[in-house]
């Protein structure tokens, strides 16, 4: 049984009554926090930080010490799986992640194997169990993975944020080859997330950062279908306690109904959606997580507070809302704005419950 002192997040994800709207922030352990940068400096590099469970657990806890957050999310990278597959993850200074050996040759694609999380991803599981222990049942710990399609984007392109022409050419020209990658990623994500649950993750989030770059039919076939299969195989309980999950496709607002029908407990939505309209579309099928524009925090505490008020009002009265940003927090955010946001959620949301 859960001994969580604060299980508000878990209840909200399951659309059970809560006294207020729980809040956590995507990328809440990150570069906007001076203490995070200090730990990263001690670790020597981003990967040195992410691959050392002691450091990872330390930064996982940092935002909880500052803000009244209702959840922690294990500090890790979205690309641990393809790194464990041998693609050679690296970070160029001032740029996003890159793979040294992008996956393009059919021979290499056919040779892809599912990493054993207990082996090559042990460091993530250790970060989960150490973070869980350090949290001492104060708030739930969220585990996560990139979606099979999002991982494939990085694997094939070598990096994110491109026009995705390499993977899209593969999608249109050799769909069976891309399906082979996605099948492999799907099995890897299932094993990885279930191992995180075994290690202590109390909720799970799947980040589909690039699914929104697909057409509607392609999104269903190459991204959503694999997430649906993950959800089918994901442990729904651990030690007799429900482990809820959240599915987030950035730019996937047009497909909300289909996402809500995938078997997930909650749908993450980006800041381009109006929560009232999103809620009307998904009805009572799922909880909704989101969706303040992370850039609103750059304008200072007062704007953050106004943004919270507008977001809560847009969702309206009732259960099933988890407050979050519509995307990861910007490194240029001041901690004062985050304080204002978190406090405003706690102060203004009880009126809606």
């Amino acid at each position: 049984m859960s001994k969580l002192k604060n299980d508000t997040l878990i209840r909200a994800l399951l659309r059970q009554p809560t006294e207020y709207t729980p809040v956590w922030l995507m990328r809440q352990a990150g570069r906007y926090l001076p203490e995070y940068n200090a730990t990263r400096a001690r670790a020597g590099s981003f990967l040195g930080l992410a691959k050392n469970p002691n450091f990872a657990a330390e930064v996982t806890l940092q935002p909880l010490a500052r803000f009244r957050l209702d959840a922690a999310i294990v500090f890790s990278d979205i690309l641990t799986i393809p790194d464990a597959m041998g693609l050679g993850l690296g970070f160029a200074e001032g740029e996003g992640p890159r793979f040294e050996r992008p996956l393009r040759e059919e021979r290499e694609i056919r040779a892809l194997t599912v990493p054993d999380p207990g082996q090559s991803l042990r460091y993530v599981l250790d970060a989960v169990s150490q973070s869980r222990k350090a949290l001492a049942d104060s708030v739930p710990l969220i585990g996560f993975s990139g979606s099979p399609f999002t991982l494939a984007c990085y694997m094939v392109e070598g990096r994110g944020g491109t026009d995705f022409r390499t993977i899209k050419t593969m999608l249109y020209q050799r769909p069976e080859l891309l399906h082979h990658i996605l099948e492999t990623n799907c099995r890897a994500v299932i094993a990885y997330l279930n191992a995180q649950i075994e290690a202590g993750a109390q909720a799970i989030m799947i980040f589909d950062t690039w699914g929104g770059t697909l057409g509607t039919a392609e999104y269903r076939e190459f991204s959503l279908e694999y997430m649906r299969r993950i959800l089918e195989e994901l442990k729904r309980e651990h030690d007799g306690v429900r482990v809820p999950n959240i599915l987030f496709t950035k730019g996937g607002g047009g497909w909300l109904e289909a996402i809500a029908a995938s078997g997930c407990d909650a749908v993450g939505v980006d800041w381009t959606l109006d929560l009232a309209a999103a809620r009307a579309r998904v009805g009572n099928r799922v909880a909704i997580q989101g969706n303040l524009d992370p850039m609103a925090l750059l304008a200072g505490p007062e704007t953050a507070r106004k943004g919270v008020a507008a977001t809560l009002a847009s969702f309206g009265p009732g259960n099933g809302h988890v407050f979050n940003l519509g995307h990861g927090i910007s490194q240029f955010t001041s901690p004062e704005s985050v304080s204002a946001l978190v406090d405003a959620v706690h102060e203004l949301s009880p009126a809606y419950h």
Copy 2:
């Protein structure tokens, strides 16, 4: 009166009966064409090409010589207006456009003036009139502009495709300052587009490339409202002939109903939307332009043809569809794929009319 030999595009934009679905492609005069690259080399640079009406008219006509397209679009850059405002447009090799003097100081913002299109944008009007003359009433010539918000993104950020944190900080912190820029841009776009119509443009398109990065309320206030005002002031007729317009917000699929109610004749949609669903949402209010994924063309002529069949089937029988890509054509496209696309539209679409 129009003496157009082929006015299929104009009729489709006005939802009048046509014998087939007209087709043109965003960025159809571009780097995927060897003859474009040859002219650009002669011009010395992109700006040398765009600012010389002879060269601009030459490349405007090039795709028409190769493909059975139903429209030409004047070759120009989206950033001519802020360049004429004195921000100093430049192109770094291998990167997108940049302004030497991004607009961030209040004093500079207040000093912004509306350029007289007859003066500092004369070269665009000359490109329009020369292109129109060279087309000899074969197919209509489309004139265009960036939207006030999209222009402001480049003006404030100095470039596109960022996280837009500078302009968004302004939006949330000093909305009146951003409104001042948008007001100025709005008046500039009205003067610019009406001058293009006077010079011979027979249809008008407004490109809102970055409006889709806004939240719903912010999109309405900072992007759509200014486009609505442009449409109010835009000449609807020239020489007794209707000049239809198209409004395209990339990533704006969630706001289709609001866009359709803006006063536009047609809505451009990107490849993430399903045309059947889009059509059901806008009803008979506007025509729809789009929306094949430009990356589908990279997979070759056969995939291009399949994509055309799927796109036409998705829109279904009836008038009011203009075939296009969901975004500008990629420079890595082979002209053979474009041929296959254009021929397939002409061959397969009559069955829907």
